[in-house]
Amino acid sequence: MDLARSWRLKDQRYRLEGTVCANCGAKFFPPRQVCTECKSQNLTPHEFDGHGEVYSFSTVYQAPLGHEGNLPYIVGMIKLDEGPMVEAQITDVNPSDLKIGQRVEMVTRKLREYGENGLIVYAYKFRPLPNAN
């Protein structure tokens, strides 16, 4: 099941590919089939540049099955410069050094493995950038 799903979502997970509304210009990640702003169904792929800032974050100490080997890890909500909010892990930083408002960029990292068939899921995470001032 997860094999097909991982293949289907690869453009989103590896390249942060969402959609842009051809009618009103609204951008979406994850991709949508119907524009939430103008209800147009004319949406085309759009690759986000992956820059944004931390809206909120949390250090997770009790993980869902499949993520328990990585504890503790940081998850966050990232407000992309191009508009949408993305939820993902934040990497390459200690929680005590992280602040709301921190500038971040997208990187591709290993997310988890599925036991028996050995499927490894890669996906976007975000890592801190030097703050502008």
């Binding site: 799903r5 979502l9 994850p30 939430t36 809206y55 909120s56 974050f57 949390s58 250090t59 997770v60 100490y61 009790q62 993980a63 869902p64 099955l65 499949g66 993520h67 328990e68 990585n70 890890y73 998850v75 966050g76 909500m77 949408p84 909010m85 993305v86 939820e87 993902a88 892990q89 929680p95 709301i100 997310l111 988890r112 899921v121 996906a123």
Partner: protein, 383 residues
């Protein structure tokens, strides 16, 4: 639409019921409710449940439970809206009677959460969120609430201790509820020193999982016979949705579905938030209590915390919440919780809440949330 009343209630204690299966718990609650309502028949049965398939390998609960309680043949369906499934089942039952389709309907919320390991249950509960864009990243259901709490603390300059009163009140009330999972009060120190689950949410901020079932019998108010004196009227039933995923919300700190469903409910019942005598809030996490109070019109935006600080949420306060322990201390068997809330509202309006009795309780409100309030079902009851 005709008037609908709750003619009977039943519930099991919430705890780790290792000796009882989902069907045992549901059957116990339904039989109690039917006995309380003095009925031996119902036209239909609706089951609120979230995870029977995932955790016990059992779906098709409608047919299963209808047969177990001796009602093989009637209409019986499961209603799922994650942790709001209990409220959803009550809403479906209400519609079935209000529409004139049926005269008597049983609504039961039942959930068995302790069959698997902790990580397995954590993974299953995360199915309330968006599996492809939240859960896959290791964002547990607690973590979603932690993300909101962290941002809320940031915007309103708060510390975790500011949220403590919600848990302290819930535990104090559960101490007097024989059906509650936790029967001992907690102190501020215990709150402060409790273990982090997903920073800033600690064990003392989150409702415990447990097994349990609660049931109500709904009847057309005009058809109530010998049970009229203890019956409680459903003055309003309303539900609404928000985006499933947090990242799709323009304003993540505002529970749009809770606002929509409570506004519809106030309009239907012809009341305002000021008229509500008690509120069974969906306190799965303290941050949810705060945001629900704001979205439902009980506190201004950013002021839900002050509400707690001023002691207004105890049974003798201005707006008692979690009067029988809430999700936090009665326990949170997810898909059953919405029906427990209704049972507790009825207990209060009947004047049978013992030491937790809200004086002169006439109008009670319950709100059952599915996911991070992606689904909100609000009911108002009067006697």
């Amino acid at each position: 639409m005709r008037s609908v009343s709750i003619a009977g209630i039943g519930q099991t204690k919430v705890k780790e019921h290792w000796d009882k299966s989902l069907r045992n718990l549901a059957t116990e609650a339904v039989l109690d409710a039917m006995k309380d309502a003095h009925v031996d028949y119902a036209d239909a049965l609706y089951v609120g449940n979230m995870l029977s398939g995932e955790l016990t390998g059992q779906e098709n609960l409608g047919a299963l439970i209808a047969d177990e309680v001796g009602l093989r043949g009637i209409e019986a369906l499961k209603v799922e809206a994650a942790c709001g499934g209990g409220g959803g089942a009550l809403r479906v039952g209400y519609l079935a009677v209000a529409s004139g389709q049926f005269d008597a309907v049983i609504v039961v919320g039942a959930e068995k959460l302790t069959e698997l390991s902790n990580c397995g249950t954590t993974a299953a509960l995360a199915m309330a969120a968006d599996s492809e864009y939240e859960t896959i990243h290791g964002i547990s259901f607690v973590a979603l609430n932690a993300l909101l709490m962290k941002r809320y603390m940031h915007e309103y300059d708060l510390v975790p201790e500011d949220f403590a009163m919600f848990s302290v009140n819930a535990h104090a009330n559960a101490a007097h509820n024989p059906y509650a999972m936790f029967r001992s009060p907690i102190t501020l120190d215990q709150y402060k020193n409790s273990r982090n689950v997903a920073d800033p949410i600690s064990v003392m901020d989150s409702a415990p999982i447990g097994d349990g079932a609660a049931a109500v019998v709904l009847m057309a108010t005009d058809n109530l016979n010998g049970t009229r004196a203890r019956a409680v009227k459903i003055a309003a039933s309303a539900s609404a949705t928000d985006s499933l995923a947090l990242h799709d919300r323009r304003d993540p700190l505002w529970l749009g579905a809770a606002e929509l469903s409570s506004k519809k409910a106030y309009a239907q019942a012809g009341v305002t938030p000021n008229d509500i005598d008690l509120f069974e809030v969906h306190d799965a996490f303290s941050i949810m209590s705060v945001m629900s109070l704001e979205a439902s019109g009980f506190a201004e935006r950013g002021r839900g915390i002050n509400f707690a600080r001023e002691g207004e949420l105890t049974p003798k306060g201005k707006l008692p919440v979690s009067t029988m322990g809430g999700l936090k201390a009665r326990g949170h068997p997810v898909g059953a919780t919405g029906v427990y809330q209704a049972v507790e509202a009825v207990t209060q309006l009947r004047g049978e809440a013992g030491k937790n009795q809200v004086p002169n309780a006439r109008i009670a409100m319950t709100q059952s949330l599915g996911g991070v309030a992606a689904n909100a079902v609000t009911h108002i009851f009067t006697n």
